[in-house]
């Protein structure tokens, strides 16, 4: 990278930390630190909600996924708008009126401390490991791109995030998220502009779309009713609905965002912002991946986008074999370019298939040489395009955008982990009556602890295929079950604490069995988990015959 790009990246990280730390002025009390004194406007909360959800995995993994397979992943978000509406109608007013700090605090008022503790524990465990992946995934990719070691990249992402999150609390997190969203969207638009300028030098826009469409990359919708198929209209609309309901309704990292809003209506507006903007934003990301594919039809792509592996293999014991593959690849690239320029679809598809086959063989060589059976190239596509094809200055902006996406998500999750640790465990069960300053100090320590924990997980997490899928697969293990408990809590007056607790256990058990013994796609696990919790929970509640009691929580 050019010196200007490094300057932009460093300046961005320094700016984020300084700005975040400066927000600590209004965070000397628990409500200010955890909930920004419930004072944020809807648009700031809305941008923070989106920034928390839009991780670097989206920028790096989703663009790569679109490069390889096209727009199909957009179906994953089809349930989101309806989820935002349902949450605005139910959960948002409940949590705001209850004046809770965490989503799980509400479960004790409705059920008992045991159910609250179990739900909070599931959140802590799931989110802490997920945070490790959120940091690890872009760190592995960016370390190869920037020439850093993985631990260095992990700490460049993790350390500034821990600093401004622990010092500034949720105020710092939210307002930094606002700025980071502008950096992210600005960076993506700049990438699209560069891609279009590059593509349109060689071919018209309509022809570019034809080339993408010829390889199926513009077929976004799959209406098959196949539970084993990961991304279909139905899995997104139904399974995705339950995932989004659970993630935005029951995960503290999102609940804490809209609890900071000035009022119930402001909180609703913030969620609806995602309802309107998330799908177009995701199309921008996926569309960028498709444009990268078209760009590389007319500009020679590398055989392997992970240039570190490419260099090692080319200089290693299988160099001759690799060089022969490279020759075949270069010939296929030239043929595809010629066919693309001539709009010869049959020849284009044939040469594209040859290229895919050669790349697969190159990837097999990497797997054999490194011992990494899970290695995949797709996550390096967009970062490689950025560092090799974008103008000086914009490279720094795009790398900053990737770091911004990682840090905004990590900050939101760190803040939530700290809040749940202090509110749902430390203050609830151990030190119940202490000054706010004591809890603030413990919160900062908790942020530091979870930050270090996540960085350690990140350094040991391995590359497991498409990053965005890995994170969502892990989430689908427990999100649906947590949603089921909140459904019982909010929509059923007959559900009892015993039913909710054992229903949650049953939901988790069933999802684990389904995940490991069937081929049902992971998006459906959320629906399954929620359904089992509700059915078993209601069954136990009715069978036990005990009267559900609304519980009063002593004011901590």
């Amino acid at each position: 990278m050019h010196a200007l790009d490094w300057f932009i990246l460093v300046a961005y990280i320094v700016w984020v930390v300084v700005d975040g730390v400066s927000r600590s002025k209004s965070t000397h009390e628990v409500e200010g630190y955890f909930l920004a004194n419930r004072s944020l406007p809807w648009w700031a909360v809305g941008l923070s909600v989106m920034a928390t959800q839009l991780s670097a995995i989206t920028l790096v993994g989703t663009t790569g996924q679109a490069y390889a397979t096209g727009l199909r992943f957009i179906q994953f978000y089809f349930g989101l708008p309806l989820a935002m509406i349902l949450l605005s109608l139910t959960v948002v007013p409940f949590f705001h009126r209850a004046r809770v700090y965490t989503a799980y605090e509400y479960l004790e008022r409705r059920f008992d401390a045991r159910t609250r503790a179990l739900a909070a524990l599931l959140f802590l465990l799931g989110r802490a490991f997920s945070l490790g992946v959120v940091i690890s995934a872009p760190a592995v990719v960016m370390s190869a791109i920037l020439g850093w070691t993985v631990p260095t990249t992990v700490f460049v992402i993790g350390l500034p995030t821990v600093v401004y999150t622990s010092v500034g609390g949720v105020q710092a997190v939210a307002w930094t998220d606002v700025k980071q969203m502008f950096v992210i969207v600005g960076g993506m638009l700049a990438a699209v502009a560069v891609l279009l300028f590059g593509i349109l030098e060689d071919v018209g826009f309509g022809q570019a779309l034809s080339l993408a469409g010829a390889t199926g990359r513009l077929s976004a919708l799959d209406f098959r009713l196949d539970l084993r198929e990961t991304y279909t209209f139905w899995s997104g609309m139904i399974g995705g609905l339950f995932l989004m309901l659970s993630y935005f309704g029951c995960d503290q990292s999102q609940v804490q965002r809209y609890l900071t809003a000035k009022s119930i209506d402001q909180a609703r507006h913030s969620l609806l912002m995602s309802g309107y903007v998330k799908i177009p934003l995701q199309l921008l990301v996926l569309g960028t991946g498709v444009l990268v594919f078209v760009f590389y039809v007319f500009q020679p792509p590398p055989m392997l986008f992970n240039q570190v592996h490419d260099g090692r293999i080319a200089a290693g014991p299988r160099a001759t074999e690799y060089a022969a593959l490279q020759g075949e690849f270069d010939a296929a690239v030239a043929d595809r370019r010629q066919a693309g320029a001539a709009s010869d679809e049959a020849a284009f598809l044939a040469s594209d298939a040859r290229m895919s086959d050669i790349r697969a063989r190159a990837v097999d060589i990497v797997k054999d040489a490194t011992g990494d059976a899970q290695f995949t190239d797709v996550n390096y596509v967009f970062p490689t395009f950025i560092t090799t094809r974008m103008p000086i200055g914009l490279v720094g902006l795009m790398i900053a955008a990737i770091f911004a996406a990682a840090m905004s998500t990590a900050a939101g999750e760190l803040s939530a982990l700290s809040t749940a640790t202090v509110i749902d465990f430390y203050r609830r069960h151990f030190v119940k009556k202490a000054a706010d300053s004591h809890y603030l100090n413990v919160s900062k320590l908790a942020t530091l602890f979870w930050g270090l924990f996540a960085c350690i997980v990140a350094m040991y997490a391995s590359n497991q295929g498409s990053l965005i899928e890995v994170v969502n697969r892990y989430g689908s293990f427990f999100y649906g079950s947590l949603l089921g408990v909140f459904i019982l809590a909010i929509l059923s007056k007959r559900a009892t604490a015993v039913g909710a607790f054992w229903g949650l256990i049953a939901g988790m058990a069933v999802v684990l069995v389904v995940a490991f013994t069937t081929a049902i796609a992971f998006l459906w696990h959320n629906l399954i988990g929620a359904a089992v919790v509700v059915i078993v929970g209601m069954g136990i509640s009715v069978a036990s015959g005990s009267q559900p009691q609304a519980r009063n929580l002593p004011n901590p």
């Binding site: 727009l71 779309l209 309802g275």
Partner: protein, 44 residues
């Protein structure tokens, strides 16, 4: 601190000016889905 369910949220929200926003988000999504379908048909 409230200790019971608040059953009024759903009704009050549907009657509020937000109702238009709720419908709007579904309309926007429907339009996007139709456009994606057309895109797939035009460039198969």
């Amino acid at each position: 601190m409230p200790s019971e369910h608040d059953p009024t949220a759903k009704t009050s929200a549907l009657e509020s000016p937000l109702a238009g926003l709720y419908v709007g988000t579904l309309v926007v999504e429907a339009v996007i889905i139709v456009l994606l379908w057309l895109l797939g048909r035009m460039y198969p």
